[in-house]
Point group: C2
Chain length 237, copies 2
């Protein structure tokens, strides 16, 4: 009797949304996958699957992780526990699983929850992807940083006071997950006299992409929106 | 007589070093390019060209920008002025130029200097790439951030006092351009009692990649090295 070799779990970053911004490795792993896994929001669509759609071969087995629409800890834990079990069942048979991740798996990605549950027991490899931050910078034509400049990444849901302190002490700032926090964030940036330095970007790299000054941003921002603020990267002219 | 259409300058991110981490778009733009441009350090090698090498078609014209090895402003300005002129000469004939950029063009990339010189006069498009930060996180198996966690990116050459203040107030920290600043940075992190949370990564994604606890890092770090410090991203177990 021989030990059966277990499979490898690949956490594959898909980039910001345009399938053309997948890496060569991500594309190859997906096209050759026998089993893929991905999160979907509460029985709804999966943005990750949509990005990868054209690369998924017919007959590929799909493990869908239903993630509840809540910021509460326990329902999400339960969902990732189940997802990890489903994936582990496949890995135990010796087959690999390719987990589809929007952006980059370790940069505000839910893959870290699977990684935490499975990396001690199985081979887990992460394929980095293009993050929404540099995709937004490219879309907006805004260099983020050069030389000894600092970059701060802040999630929009942070409390107003903390956002103010963090933005005040920063150079280039990327504010992620803007969504329904847009009004609060705009108030903070305006209060700091920085409104003229801030750009709003929605669905970077997708056909519906929006780029405009923050002053002109819509009242209702989708989850996939970002604000970039550079106090003036010096282009060494 | 008709107006001749000018060409487009593409600033193409190549990712952290492994050619397999190029995006599909970057790869296609390079393989079909008639003219490419890239920086080389003072007559030496070009890391950008090395990443793209296998995708460059025979007969492609190459514009090499010799960047002086100095942090002084003027010699660098002169080099980018000349590079921008050489590129503009090609764009003016109606031909596109694909500029090869390590990592991402707008994230500590020298492309911003060309962008500043040419974007007002020519069509310039930026293709974002995988940054060294998420490549290092993938190599180290270190999730960088989830939910409402903040990420701070600091260049290693910053003064010791500023590094200390910034690291102290941060959650996840990526310190770029470590190189000869390794000793100083290690002293700061050790002084803050965070040495056990810090990982050293050298040449992420390349065959010579090194990943180790910062405590065990070599005395002499190459320019392409990074320190990742997470005060404990919470994996929601």
């Amino acid at each position: 009797m021989t030990d059966m070799k277990t499979g490898t779990l690949y956490g594959v970053g898909l980039g910001p949304g345009d399938p053309d911004l997948m890496t060569l490795r991500a594309h190859r792993l997906i096209t050759s996958a026998r089993v893929i896994a991905y999160p979907a929001l509460a029985g709804g669509e999966s943005f990750a699957r949509a990005i990868a759609a054209d690369a998924i071969a017919p007959g590929t087995r799909e493990i869908v992780m239903d993630i509840p629409m809540t910021t509460a800890r326990e329902p999400a834990q339960t969902a990732y526990d189940k997802g990890a079990r489903d994936i582990a069942d496949v890995l135990a048979t010796g087959q690999d699983v390719v987990c589809l991740c929007e952006g980059d798996p370790f940069f505000y990605g839910s893959f870290m929850y699977l990684f935490a549950r499975l990396a001690d027991h199985y081979s887990v490899k992460v394929v980095p992807g293009v993050t929404s931050i540099t995709a937004c910078a490219a879309a907006a034509g805004m260099p983020l940083a050069a030389r000894n400049e600092r970059v701060t990444v802040l999630p929009g849901p942070l409390p107003e006071g903390e956002l103010r302190t963090r933005i005040e002490g920063a150079e280039s700032v990327a504010i992620m997950k803007v969504g329904r926090h847009l009004g609060k964030i705009r108030t903070v940036i305006e209060g700091l006299g920085l409104l003229g330095h801030a750009t709003y970007i929605e669905r970077a790299s997708l056909p519906q992409q929006v780029v405009c000054p923050l002053a002109d941003a819509p009242e209702n921002a989708p989850y996939f929106s970002m604000i970039l603020l550079t106090k003036g990267a010096d282009p060494w002219l």
